[in-house]
Symmetry: C2
Subunit: 918 residues, 2 copies
Amino acid sequence: MTKYVYKFAEGDKDMKDLLGGKGANLAEMTKLGLPVPPGFTITTDACRAYLNTGEVPDTLDVEVTAAIRGVEDAMGKTLGNADDPLLVSVRSGAKFSMPGMMETVLNIGLNDNSVLGLAKQSDNERFAWDSYRRLIQMFGKTVMDIDGDLFADELHGLQQKKGYKGDLDMTTEDLKELVVTYKEIVKRETGKDFPQDPREQMDMAVEAVFRSWNTDRARIYRRRERIPNDLGTAVNVQTMVFGNMGLDSGTGVCFTRDPSTGHSGVYGDYLQNAQGEDVVAGIRNTLSLADLENLDKKSYDELREIMSKLETHYRDMCDIEFTIQKGRLWMLQTRVGKRTASAAFRIAEQLVNERLITKDEAVTRVSGDQLTSLLFPQFDKKAEKKLISKGMPASPGAAVGEIVMNNEQAVERTQAGATVILVRRETNPDDLQGMVVAAGVLTARGGKTSHAAVVARGMGRCAVVGAEDLVVDEAAGTVYVKSKDATYHAGDVIAIDGATGEIFEGRVPVADSAVMTYISKGFDAAMEAAGDDADVVELVTAVDHILTRADQKARLVVRANADNPEDAQRSREFGAKGVGLCRTEHMFLGDRRKLIEAVILADSDDEREAAYDALMPLQKGDFVGIFGAMDGLPVTVRLIDPPLHEFLPDLTELSVELAVKEAKGETVTNQEKKLLAAVKANHEANPMLGLRGIRLGLKMPGLIKLQVRAIAEAYVELRKQGKDPKPEIMIPLIGSVREMQIARDMALEVLKDVEDESGMKVDLPIGNMIELPRAAITAGRIAVESNFFSFGTNDLTQTTWGFSRDDVEAAFFNDYYDYGIFGTSPFESIDWRGVGALVRRAAENGRQANPDLHLGVCGEHGGDPQSIHFFHWVGLDYVSCSPFRVPVARLEAGRAAIANESEAAAEENGGSSVNATA
Amino acid sequence: MTKYVYKFAEGDKDMKDLLGGKGANLAEMTKLGLPVPPGFTITTDACRAYLNTGEVPDTLDVEVTAAIRGVEDAMGKTLGNADDPLLVSVRSGAKFSMPGMMETVLNIGLNDNSVLGLAKQSDNERFAWDSYRRLIQMFGKTVMDIDGDLFADELHGLQQKKGYKGDLDMTTEDLKELVVTYKEIVKRETGKDFPQDPREQMDMAVEAVFRSWNTDRARIYRRRERIPNDLGTAVNVQTMVFGNMGLDSGTGVCFTRDPSTGHSGVYGDYLQNAQGEDVVAGIRNTLSLADLENLDKKSYDELREIMSKLETHYRDMCDIEFTIQKGRLWMLQTRVGKRTASAAFRIAEQLVNERLITKDEAVTRVSGDQLTSLLFPQFDKKAEKKLISKGMPASPGAAVGEIVMNNEQAVERTQAGATVILVRRETNPDDLQGMVVAAGVLTARGGKTSHAAVVARGMGRCAVVGAEDLVVDEAAGTVYVKSKDATYHAGDVIAIDGATGEIFEGRVPVADSAVMTYISKGFDAAMEAAGDDADVVELVTAVDHILTRADQKARLVVRANADNPEDAQRSREFGAKGVGLCRTEHMFLGDRRKLIEAVILADSDDEREAAYDALMPLQKGDFVGIFGAMDGLPVTVRLIDPPLHEFLPDLTELSVELAVKEAKGETVTNQEKKLLAAVKANHEANPMLGLRGIRLGLKMPGLIKLQVRAIAEAYVELRKQGKDPKPEIMIPLIGSVREMQIARDMALEVLKDVEDESGMKVDLPIGNMIELPRAAITAGRIAVESNFFSFGTNDLTQTTWGFSRDDVEAAFFNDYYDYGIFGTSPFESIDWRGVGALVRRAAENGRQANPDLHLGVCGEHGGDPQSIHFFHWVGLDYVSCSPFRVPVARLEAGRAAIANESEAAAEENGGSSVNATA
C-alpha cells in the first residue's frame, strides 16, 4: 500500500520529490530537533492520484486521521475544541518553489464552538473572531470557489457604513456580525452551510490545494520555469502559531549570511505583533533582525543558534521564516536561499574560503545559466527609458545603435564608425554580413528559433525577434510602429534588450560585463578594469576559481562551432579546445554564390569542372585561415550539406517575377528561363529529407573531391610553414555504412593524390555526422568505417520526431507546451527519452564496434546545460557549441563530471532530466 | 583458420551460402554416390576476402594444393602430364543463379606438353590441338583481359585464306599454327607468355572468376534480380569430361518430370558427339532423350535411375546436365528446375497428389510474386503489335482503351460504354476519379513510386509511368511522341503493358486471367469459365488448394487498405479479414474540398463550426457505407492526416495567377487575396514534417471530434439495423504518449456523448500509427494508452532514413542502386536493419507494456512478400495491403508461418532478407 502521509518526523530534506520543498525542509528541521509546529505532509503521490482520477486515494483518509491524532497528542489540543482548540494551516508545497501560484488556507479548525476556545486561550476575543471571519473568507473563495469580491464588498460596506478607516477600527461585535453575513454568503452561493466540522474543512482544503496545481496561472508559471506539469504538489498540514498575539509575539525572515556576497553577518527583518503575510505585504515598516536582541533576547539567542545549526547542516546560505508566539520561537520554513547569479558565484567562493564546502562543491553551486547572464552587458537600471514596443527576447544582451535595414547600410555605417542595429522583417543566410557587424538584431517576424534568433545566439549577438507591432519597409527605409502610430527611419537610434524583448527609443546607457572581460581578455585585464570595485573583484575572482576547477574536473572537452577564422579565434579565447563543426555552406554564399550556381547550371562536365577549379583556391584559403587560427587544435570540417536550391532563387518569387514580365510584354531571357528550369528541377517537396549531405556528394563527387582537396592542401601549406593544423573530415547525413565506405574511399583517394603531389604524409581522421535515426540504429556498422561520430542533434531531433523546425515551432509548439507534451522544446534541451535514447544506443554500439571511435555532439544542444549533463552521462568525448556558449559549456562539463562521480548520481542525472517529454 | 576449399565429398546441398548453388549440388550428388567428375569448390568467403583486399587469402594456396592432389589421385592423372594429363574446368557458381553473367574457363591444364598427352589418350590429335587453341583464346580474353576480337580475327582470317566454310574444315596443322599465333598475341598484348604451368593457369582463372563478380553486367543483373552485391561467388574446379570424343560420347539436359505440368515422363534433349555449349548454342538439332535408349541403353538406364534417385532425394522436379564420355555417364549439374508461375502451382499440386510432398510444402513451393503474375490479364502473345514508345512498368497488367486526359472525359466516355486509358503528364489526388474508372494509367512524368504508380498498384490498375518520350497537352487534347514525331488524340485507342512498360497503338487483344476469376468470383465461377481447358482446370485447382492451405496455416491476418465501400467490398471478395487502413483525407476532396477550405479560412469559431456541421452527415455516410460493406469485420479508420495546404491551391501557381492578373490591370478580389494569405500562412518548408496528423488534430480539436462522432454515429445506426460494425479509431503521427492520452481522452468524450444520446454502448478500440522513430522508441510508454499499433512503414521509412519519398526516388535512388547502397528500395521491401529494427523494438516493448496490444502494419510493405515474412517473424497480428495484393499477402502469410515453424528457420528468415541495405 502506498504511504500517502508522512509526519514531519518521518521525512528529510532529500525527499523533495515526495514531500515537496517545504515539507522536506520542515521534516529536516524536525529531525534536527528545532522547534517546528507539529504537522504532517500529504505526498505528491496523493496529489497525482487525485489529479488522475478526480478522487482522493481511498486510504488517505485513514492515514490523515492517524496523523492528526498525533498532532493533537503532541500539542495537547483537539480540533474543534471549545476550550483549547487545535488550529492548522493547509499549504501547498511542490518540489520546485512556485511562490504564490497555489493555495493556502489558514486557521482551519475554527467554527462556532472553537472560536470561543481560541478567544479563551488567546485572551483576545477580537483576535478570535477576526481569525474566524478570515477563515470563512479565505475558505469560501479558495475552497468553495465563491467570488472573493462578495466578501470584500461586505467588509468594505460595513467599514464605510461605520466610518472606519480600516480593519483595525472594527470591533469584536462588527466581526461577529461579519461572520454571520459571510456564512449567509456561503449558503446563498453554494447552497451549503459553511462546514462546521474541522475535519471536513481540512479535507476540503486539501483537495483545493490539489486542484490548484492545475490552475492556468500555475501552468503558465511552470512552463516559463521549465517545471514539468506532472509532478503535482504536496500538502502540508501544520499547527497554527500566531505572531499577532501581542507585543511578545512577532514574525520574521532572515538569511544565515549576506545573500549577495556570502559574507558572515545577521541579515533579516522582524515585525512585532504580526503574521507572516504582513511582512510580505509590507504594511508596516519592519525592524532589522538585530533589533530583536533588545526586544526578546531569549528568542534572539535561540534563533542565532538555530541559524548557525542550519548553515552547518545545509552547508549553504539558508533563508528562514519564523514566528514568535507569546515569547516562544517557532520555525516555519527554511530552505537554501535564492540568490542572483553574481551572488551565487560570490557565496560559493566565500564558502570555500571558510572551508565550509570543497572546491568541487563550489562548482555545483553555480549554473551555466547563471554564468550566461553574467556575460552580457545590461542597460543601466537607473537610466530613464522610453519604450517603443516589445518583441520576443531571442538572444540576451543590450544593444544600442542606429537603425540599418540591410547589409550595405550596416557595413557602410559601421565603417563610418557608427554602432548599428540591423532591423529586418525576417533574416535569411544572406543577411549574415549585416548581422556580423551589427550590435543587435531586431525582426518583425519569426520565433525564438527563427534564423535571426538562432544565428544571433550563435554569435552571442543581442536579438529581439517577432516584434509583430513593427512594419519594416526596407525600400522606404522606415519602421512603422502600429501600436504607437509612429515611424522610425534608418539612422534613428534605438536600443534593444535581448533579455526582455524591450525596444527603446534613443541612446540608453549600457554597462559592460566584467565577467565577459575576464572570459575574453583574461583575469588580469578584468582586474584592471574592476579597479577599486570590491564587488567586481570578488565576482571575477570567484568566476575564475570556479571555472578553473570545472576545467580540471571536466571529462567532456568543449569545442566550438566556427565557420571563419574570426569565430575560431574568439572561441579559442573563450577556452574552446578546437572546432567541432566548421560548416562549409556559408563559404559558398555572397560572391561565390554565382560559382555554385554555375556548378548547378553547368551543361557539361567541363563547365562544372571549371566552376570547381574557380572555387578551389577560395576554399583552400578558407581552410588555411581557420586551421591557422586553431593551430594545434582539431578542426572538424563538415562537407557541404544543404540542398542545391538553397543556392538558387526562390521558386515562387522567380515564377512570379518572370510571369509578370511576360504579362507586361517584356522579354524573358533564355538565361532567365534556364534559371527557372533549374530552380524547378531542384525544387523539392521536403528539402530537409531530400538531395543533400552525402547524397549530394555521391551525385556530384566533384564537390566532395574539391572540398577534401582544399582541406588537404591547406593542411600541407600550413605544415610547410611549420604549423600544426589538425583538420578532420566529416561526412554529413550518413544513413548506412555503405555510404560512408564510398565517401571515405573517395576522400582517401584525394588525400593520397595530395600526398603524392606534396611528398608529405596526409593522414586525416574521416568521420561522419549521426543525424538520422537509421545512422543511430546502425551505428555499430558505420563505426567500422569511421574515425569519429558527431551527433547532429538538431537534425536528429527533426527526423526522430518528424519535426521540420522551420515549420513546427511557430505552428504548434505553444499548443504542445499547453497540453503538457513538452516541458521544454526538444530543440532547446535534448529529449532524452527519444532522441537521447538513439544517441546513447549509437554511442554504445559505435564504441563496441570501434573502440577508437571518437564521439562528440555539434547540435545546438552542445551548449545547453541540461543536455551537456546528458552527453557526459552517455560518455561522449566532446561537445561543440557556438563560441559564445563555450564558457557555459566548460562550466557545465565540469559540473556534470562532479555530479556523476558516483554511479548513483549518474543514474539520477540521466533519468530525471527536466526535458522529460511524454 | 577459415576453411576456403571444400572437396565435393565434403559439402552438401544446404551449403549454398558458402559453396554457391552449383557447388552445393555437385557436393550433394557426390554424397549420393552419383558419377560426378571429381573436383572441389573454393568458397564465397575466399571471394569476398579477395574482393575486399584485392588479394587471395594467404592460406588458400595450400588448401588448393591438397585438393588438386586429391583429384589427381582419384583420376589417376596428373596436371600437365605428357602422357595422360588431368584437365579441369574453373567455373563460377554463386548462391543465386546468374546465368552467363560470370566467367568460365575450360581445358585448364593444357600446355605444349600435355596437349600431346591428350592427343594420345583421346586418340584424336585434332581434338587435342583444337582444345588447346580454345583454351588460349578463352584464357586470353577472360583471364588476361585481351580483346577477344584479336583471336577471332586470326581464326576467320585463316579460314578465309584457306577457303574454309567453318571450324570443322580446319586441319590439325591449321590448329597447331593457330596455337602459335595465339601465343604470339598473348605475348604482344600482355608482355608475358601464355602460362605453361597448369597450376598458374588455374590460380589465374580462379582470380578472374572472383573478379567477374563485379563486372558491370553482373551488377546490373543483380540489381534487377534483387541479389545482394556482397555475396560473392564460389569457384568450382572440376575434372574435364568430354562429350565430343566420338559417337559413343554426347551431352544432354533433362527434367525429372514435365516442367510445365509436373506430370511424370521423360523430358530432355541429347546431342551426340558434342559438348554442353553446343546444346545451348543449338548448332545441331538435338535428339529427344528417349532416343538415347536406342543409342546407349546402359547409359540411358543408369541416367533414368539417377533421375529417379534425384527426384526422391530433392522431392521436386530437377533439372539435370550430363555428359557421356566414351560410353561412361557423368553428372555435371543438377538443381531444382526453374518453372513458370503456372507450372509452379501445377507441379506443387501434382507432387502432393503423388504423396511426394505435404500440403504445407506445396505452399512453400510457390511465391507471392508468382501468384501476382497469374492475376493479371496479358496481351495475346501471338497478336501483332505496333510499339509507340516505352515507359516504366509501374503496375502490372494489360489495358486497352481510348485516350482520355482528365476526370470528366474519363467518366463521360466510360458512361458511354468505352474502355479508357487515363493519360496525364503526372497524376495527383484530384485525378482519383479518372483512375478509378480507367482500365489503365499512363503518365509522362514520375517514377515507380510516383502518385500514379502507387495508387494504380493499390487499385490493381495497370500503369505505365515516366514515359518521358511523351508530351501530354491536356488543353490541346494531344499526346505527342517525340521519338516518332507522331501525335495521338483523345479518343485514339492505345494499349499499355504494365509488366513491360510498352505502349502500343490500337486495340491489342487481351486474354483474361483464370486465377483472377477464381480469386474474385470463386472456384465454381472459375471452373465454369475454364470449360474443357484441362491446363486451366489444373491451375485453378492448384491455386485453390494451396491458397486454402496457406489460409489455414497463416498466423498473420490479412486486411486491406480501403477508403470506400467498393474497395472494402472487393477486398472482402479477395479474402481480406477487415480493413486495416481506411484513410479519411480522400473523403474531403472533390465537392467537399470547399468545406475543408471553409474550415481553414474561417474567421470565427462559429464559421468553423458551421463547416464542421456541414461535413458531419457526409462523413457519417462514408462510414456507414464502409462499415456496412465490412459487416462483422474490423475497419480501422485513420483520422485525418495530411497538412491543410493539401486542400488549398498551390502557392506558386496561385501567386503567379494573381500577380499576372495584377500586372494586366485586372482586379484581384478580396476573396482571392484572402485565399493567397491562407495559402501562404499554411505553406510549409517541409510539410512531411509539419502540421499534420495528431498535431493538426490538437490544433483543431473540432476535426477529431467531427470524425469520431461520425464513426460513432455510423456504428450506432448500423447496430440499430441489426448489423455488426467493428470500427477502430486510429490516431496518426503520434510521437509521444501524452499526445495519445489527449487524443484518446477527446475521442472517449465524444463516444460517451454518443452513448448518452443513443442509449447504446459505444466501446470502440482506439489505437495509433507508429510512423515516427520516436513513437517506435517510446512504444512501451504509448502502448499503455493504446489498444493497437499500426506500423505506417512508409512514413517510418521516410523519417528513419530522412527520405522524402516524393523527392529522393527520382533524384538519387538509381545512383544508390549503382553504388550498392540498396539492393531494393526501402519503400518496396522493408529495410530490416534500420526501419525493421525499430518495428521489432516497438512491437516487443509495446507488448510487454500492454499484453492486449494488437499489432499490425498498414504501409505498402504489408503487401510485399519479403516484408510479410519479416512481419510474421517480429510477431505482428496482421498486415494490411491494397485490395489487389490481398491474395498475395494471404499466400505469403501462410508461407511465413510454415517456414517459421522451426525456430531456426525463423532466425534465418529474419536475418537474411534480400533487403540487406548497408
